[in-house]
Symmetry: C2
Subunit: 413 residues, 2 copies
């Protein structure tokens, strides 16, 4: 079968009607709807001459054996956030399926290198707050002891939820053997941001995933009566936090691609008649350059102490999570640029703010690269997430070209 | 009996041990602990030659009939917030009892004017969120239709809770008849703020209660991925709200006694990985001058619109509650100043930020004034609320002098 990008769009719509509702996609990992999406996908795979199995972490692997055991991996994830979009994760899987069909057809079922397709388990971490679960097992960066006791909002542990789907977390390390012979990894994804749309470009070359410093910042002041406490006698924890929420924007704007966000701010006691005694903020800082990320983190800490002093408050920092920047492979970046340019005329290189499974694969030492396709309005994780159909089709064509170029690169390497 | 200020302190401690626990005072209106406090107080009254009854709104009235039917009212409230302080409200009632004893003794049971003592019902509004309940019935400023269906956190309606204490809300208007012959109202209270302590003064003359503008201010921006949304593409509702939280301080500082407070700020979706799409803040503004209050309200609205524009957000205002400033009676202010000066040497005039029952009495057209006694650390509504014992004793002496001066003033009027 020749590549048919329109079929990818049609299959994505099929998946949407099977696993979405009026609030959006509901393919949350380890739920019945997600399992239904995987069954649907298994039926598609069954039409192809491929070996197909789930690894010990629940990742779904399909392999088209090639002349060489060296393998090219095309990856994505069928799981979504609750009330999510139709494309996030699913585009990668369904587009990879189309590329898979083309390889199977073009080389009479036996391409020059082995081509594999992986549907990662639980990229989003929507139910248990642990994203990149399946790919971290693959990359041996998992954290099973901490993760198995995580609970969803009904109190069900991750361990029990996975067991119900046939996965024993104690055997996660067995997923590492899927790394054998892996020579390159490619992932197509919607941008989930507004950059390509603003540039008027359908496709982009992803430089890597930004490193993240994610912290909880708590200011302690003095709760006081809002009526009886003069302005000059206050120790207002919200004032210190408000200054920080504004200053982190100046810190980010010194660098072209950096972002800093206060996404949550909580006030205590949080009542209309009391000066805020305690204010808890979250800070998320990202950049592709580790030095810039470290500098921004230091500047935010320094600023928070200055504001605490100004407001006669104290401040405490506590790390929620962090990850180093993961730059993609230079040779694959060049191939991705060629593919994007051939299809859309211009190739824009950009970092990815959101994390992706490709980062875990890359951390495992496997050359990886990602390609972005424009998101309308930059909106994702929402039922209105969308991409123009002609852009989706272009992305399938460009991703297919990238796959072919990468097969040649693996043969040359 | 001559005035015995030490007895007031001893009786306050007695009440504390009877109705408090390790977390503070628990005399929340319409609870068993509050009823126990009232029983304790009724026993004290029973030792005096007074008529004593509860009015239709649950206010407790004790009257020492005088030569004239014109009456001087001394008021306070035994109810507290949960985990409250030992003095807030109770000082007024117990000090008034002592003044009452002195009047009963000095004039052989028949003072020149009738002297009344009132323990207002539910000043704090701690259980149902409606403060000044009893005094608003007295003043005919109550809001029974809206209040009767208020519920506590267990879902019990105010109407049912009051009925359990023998009060029918449908009969609230009958409490207005207690206004008959009322010639003046005096209330002693802890400051609940840090001003007197900072000035090194034990006592203060209260000019009136500040007017309050209390609003909910909601900024609407665009929820967006914190990793993929460049800084210049954001519509961050928190940024607009943070600017307002800082600007209201500048607005307040233009005026010597004004206060403006953002006490609660809520972020939505309020997660570490999303730019804030909606931010709900509360704003509380107070001043004794109605023109200043109106100006501050206008300035805050203008500022919020400017910040919304700057952040490409929109803003909505919704009034939570407001009350006009209530200045106390000029002649009584002078008497209060004399009494304070005689006892402590200096008389500082200051507005009250917190509301008090005296404001409702004043709105009913009855001349009223309040006297403040220093609060340690300016802290109230907390188990650590405290005042030096010598200051408590001075406050009883000064309040007693004010009562005598006010009797003379009533006779002259």
């Amino acid at each position: 079968m020749p590549l048919d990008p329109k079929r990818t769009v049609a299959e994505l719509k099929e998946l949407r009607s099977l696993t979405g509702d009026e609030n959006g996609a509901q393919r949350v990992a380890w739920t019945d709807t997600w399992l239904r999406a995987r069954e649907w996908f298994a039926k598609k795979l069954a039409e192809l001459p491929v070996e197909h199995h789930y690894d010990a972490a629940g990742n779904n692997w399909a392999s088209l054996a090639g002349e060489s055991k060296k393998s090219l991996i095309l990856g994505g994830h069928l799981d979504s956030v609750p009330n999510g979009g139709w494309l996030d994760g699913a585009l990668n899987v369904v587009a990879a399926l189309e590329v898979f069909r083309r390889f199977a057809s073009e080389f009479n079922g036996r391409p020059p290198v082995t081509v594999r397709l992986v549907d990662w388990a639980d990229e989003e971490g929507a139910r248990f707050g642990r994203s990149l679960l399946g790919s971290s097992a693959f990359a041996a960066t998992h954290s099973v002891p901490a993760d198995r006791v995580r609970t969803d909002r009904d109190g069900i542990t991750m361990e029990d939820a996975l067991r119900r789907c046939g996965i024993e977390m104690g055997r996660f390390t067995e997923a590492e053997k899927e790394r054998q012979n892996a020579a390159a990894y490619l992932e197509l994804h919607i941008e989930q941001g507004p950059v390509l749309e603003q540039l008027g470009l359908p496709l982009g070359v992803v430089l890597g995933t930004k490193g993240v410093e994610r912290h909880s910042v708590t200011f302690h002041g003095q709760e006081a009566h809002s009526g009886s406490t003069p302005m000059n006698a206050r120790r207002d924890a919200l004032a210190a936090a408000a200054k920080l929420a504004l200053e982190i924007r100046n810190i980010a704007r010194k660098h072209p691609d950096a972002v800093c966000t206060v996404g949550s701010l909580k006030t205590f006691p949080g009542i209309v008649t009391a000066v805020v005694g305690r204010c808890e903020a979250t800070l998320d800082q990202r950049d592709l350059d580790a030095r810039i990320l470290a500098q921004m983190f230091q500047e935010a800490q320094d600023a928070s102490r200055r504001f605490a002093d100004e407001e006669k408050c104290t401040v405490e920092w506590s790390r929620i999570w962090s990850i180093e920047p993961v730059p993609f492979h230079p040779a694959l970046l060049d191939l991705c640029e060629q593919a994007v340019r051939e299809v859309s005329g211009t190739a824009h290189r950009m970092p990815s703010g959101p994390l992706h499974d490709a980062a875990e694969v890359s951390r495992a030492g496997i050359p990886a690269v990602m390609m972005f396709v424009q998101s309308l309005g930059g909106i994702s994780h929402n039922k209105i997430e969308d991409t123009r159909e002609e852009h989706l089709e272009m992305s399938v064509v460009a991703f297919d070209r990238l796959a072919s170029k990468t097969v040649d690169w693996i043969l040359r390497s």
